[in-house]
Symmetry: C2
Subunit: 236 residues, 2 copies
């Protein structure tokens, strides 16, 4: 351990210190934090930048830095289904529906940035939370990047498996969210009446070189799932 950047350590320290404070409690000044923790003001600002971006604090020039009110939502981060469910105090589980190698097809090929006639591995799973269906998940990988995947144990965390076995680390993802009417198969699998609506999330997972690694379409039960996040004003 200890191979941690100072600004990161400081960020966690400040997070811990402010954890119990009521909203709008002022933090020490940047200069004070710097001397208290024996670091430069630059490092303090770096840590505060991260906390501000995450919605933990807000800053007002000339006034100070303050504990932000409890946000409805953690700032927007990329999470796996398992992480997501645990954050909601639900126990994640999986039922494997299919794992096969197929032709990409135009749509998937387009999202993965590969040729339409190339092979992709498709993993289809019904995902459960506390034993009840939560969503249908359809993951596609370029076949040449995950040889032998279909023979692995696919009931656990795919992300962990990808990282451990193939060195694929997904750093960011583009997502498109839409409300859909569930068809017969989908509503049956999810255990909701025909005609119910669902929340569809189409995701393309990218590695640290912004190259597509994975394309996933997930359809959530509308009655059990919502998406929460914070947005900020930005420059054009």
């Amino acid at each position: 351990m200890a191979r941690q950047a100072k600004h990161e350590e400081l960020r966690l320290a400040l997070l811990a210190e402010t954890a119990g404070s009521p909203p709008h409690t002022p933090l020490p000044t940047e200069r004070d934090i710097a001397t208290d923790h024996g670091v430069s003001r630059n490092t303090v600002r770096q840590a505060l930048d991260a906390l501000e971006a995450a919605g933990n604090v807000y800053r007002v020039q000339g006034a100070g830095t303050f504990v932000a009110p409890p946000v409805v939502s953690k700032s927007l981060t990329l999470t796996s289904f398992s992480e997501d469910m645990r954050a909601r105090d639900l126990e994640p589980a999986s039922r494997l529906l299919a794992a096969e190698t197929v032709r990409a097809g135009r749509q998937i090929a387009d999202r993965l940035g590969v040729a339409p006639d190339s092979d992709v591995v498709r993993v289809s799973r019904l995902r459960l939370a506390d034993g009840a269906p939560m969503c249908l998940e359809n993951v596609h990988f370029p076949a040449d990047r995950v040889p032998g995947l279909v023979d692995e144990d696919l009931t656990g965390s795919l992300y962990a498996l990808l990282d451990a076995r193939y060195g694929l680390d997904i750093r960011s993802a583009d997502q498109i969210i839409r409300a859909v009417d569930l068809d017969e198969t989908e509503s049956a699998l999810l255990g909701v009446p025909l005609g119910s609506s669902g929340l569809r999330v189409q995701r393309v997972g990218l590695d640290r070189r912004d190259t597509p690694v994975e394309a996933t379409t997930t359809i959530y039960r509308a009655d059990r799932y919502d998406i929460r996040f914070t947005v900020r004003r930005a420059q054009p």
Copy 2:
């Protein structure tokens, strides 16, 4: 003008320079950019930080900084309906359904952080894109922060009006997204068959002190609207 921070100017300059470049084109090194533009490397890093956060470039330590592939989605920013529609090449319009002062009620009071029996101004609008219904919007403000609002022209941009008339600047917002089944009134107003699904966005707009200024519930037509954004892996 010209009262612009250097890192911001540099960010825009780099954005313009890279606009035409194909993905994965390397940018000059940070040190080169610094000397070329006559600024310090710190300033360059600040500009690149912003571009990276916005998904315009990606950086690989030891290798360089590169133009990011065209993202599906601009990074997540807070936009008004009008801005949002124009970004999608649609012409925004409004039909005012109601503008009145009412009791807050528990739910709205909770979201706005005011007393349940206090007054709030409610503005209800049907919003159109290229002449066709796009969403139903229900905005609530604490009444004491927007005196006389109900008598204003409410068919244009509310955000612009708030800023100009009341000095309210909304800097960030917490959002909760869910798929819903539309009821009779909603589907009639939106011009879709009864039983269709819709995308509901509940938003609480916050000023720069993270104080709630506005609570909005918007229900979008599922067939015309989606939400696109990029997420990143983050630290716990």
